[in-house]
Symmetry: C2
DNA sequence: TTTCCGCACTTTTGATCAAAAATAGATTCG
DNA sequence: CGAATCTATTTTTGATCAAAAGTGCGGAAA
């Protein structure tokens, strides 16, 4: 046999696993992370966990203290405004590009995901809401076929992730608006500009909620 | 004594070293990277090199193939336009924020660095030019005190780095304009808007040169 | 009480090794 | 001759271990 195995290396698997833990609010802002602790809790060797943590650190999802410790960064007004600046530039661009490329099969997929979002909101299931919401956005962005932008967006989502847990912890899922219907409708109409506007609004609302929680 | 040693871990040192190799054009686009090869060439253990490579990969400076191999990515029109979009949003913002905060000591430092840029251009010293040019920009951006934006900018520079070698290889340093004087003068005048414009123009010119080289 | 120090315990770090995987050449087969 | 296969070599991967570094607590001294 030969070349190009399809099974991913352990550190890759662990990376994805921890990434999702961060994205879906399983860490508290400020929480210290230990390599040993993580590797024990997910039952993996310490070496691949180390690599995954370096990667997440490089993406800003974790912060490496000068004491060789690693922690989940806390959100601040200062950080939030930087994140907002870039998200408002990158994600609408991704949405625009996606709208130009997307085919009906993917639009249908998005509509499907959106029903999961609604269901999660109705059920007050925070973790499921965060997962479905993430999936909606990145399924859309995937269609843009712009890997560099997508990775930047992902890095920014990782930085907001832990705060979303706090937002939902405070308000539950009650306050969450679903801005997605606007977007899928516009996609069906082929109205690129409207798709962009919907995503802009979605980001604005989400970050406003985080900011509000921050100040409280 | 206690706590908080000031000596950095090996993987951190190696990260910086390799980062500079990429930034200053010591790798050719498309060049394959091997962990073993790197660790032998810089005389380090394989473990910290691995960590550094993961980190650079997460930043987009290296690309990990599905064959478990790692290479220096080649530039393309598609990648370049994504990079341009974000650089034109992030770096002018950094420059603006920097201009608002900066003190005379740092401005003097920038003027000092700029003489090094000029000298490198005169001498046709590509590596020195790239190093000084980098130092100019990031000394400025540092003053913005906006770590998230700064890290995004750095990630984008890393992705352009290897192409700059090609640009300079083709044209030498002759074609390089020095846009920096504009910027330092505007900083002295406290003209924030003009600083921003100067940086925008600098980025535009640099990327235009890369694009031109790409098409040739 | 407060501060400082020492000590036991935890964690990170980086080298090393065996196993898995990939590559490149040489060889065989059609 | 070209394509597929086998094999020797290189490389990556992940576990393990010893050494370095950090943490935090308890007790002694001010």
């Amino acid at each position: 046999m030969n070349h190009v195995s399809d099974k991913k290396p352990e550190h890759e698997t662990i990376y994805v696993r921890v990434k999702e833990m961060i994205l879906f609010g399983e860490f508290i802002p400020g929480q210290p992370i230990t390599i040993l602790g993580l590797s024990e809790s997910i039952g993996a060797g310490v070496t691949p966990v180390r690599e995954a943590i370096r990667r997440l650190t490089a993406e800003g999802a974790l912060r490496s203290l000068k004491n060789r410790r690693v922690e989940v960064p806390e959100m601040s007004d200062h950080r939030l405004s930087q994140i907002e600046l870039v998200r408002m530039s990158v994600e609408p661009a991704l949405a625009t590009m996606a709208a130009a490329n997307i085919d009906d099969r993917v639009i249908a997929e998005l509509e499907q995901i959106d029903t999961l979002v609604d269901k999660a909101i109705d059920n007050g299931d925070t973790r499921e809401y965060l997962a479905a919401n993430y999936q909606f956005h990145f399924t859309l962005y995937e269609a843009a076929d712009a890997l560099i932008l997508q990775r930047i967006a992902e890095s920014l989502w990782l930085q907001v992730g832990p705060s979303l847990r706090v937002v939902c912890g405070r308000y539950g899922t009650a306050k969450l608006l679903d801005q997605h219907r606007e977007a899928t409708l516009a996609l069906r109409e082929g109205d690129t500009e409207k798709v962009k506007k919907a995503i802009e609004e979605d980001i604005r609302q989400g970050l406003a909620l985080v900011r509000q929680t921050l100040r409280a």
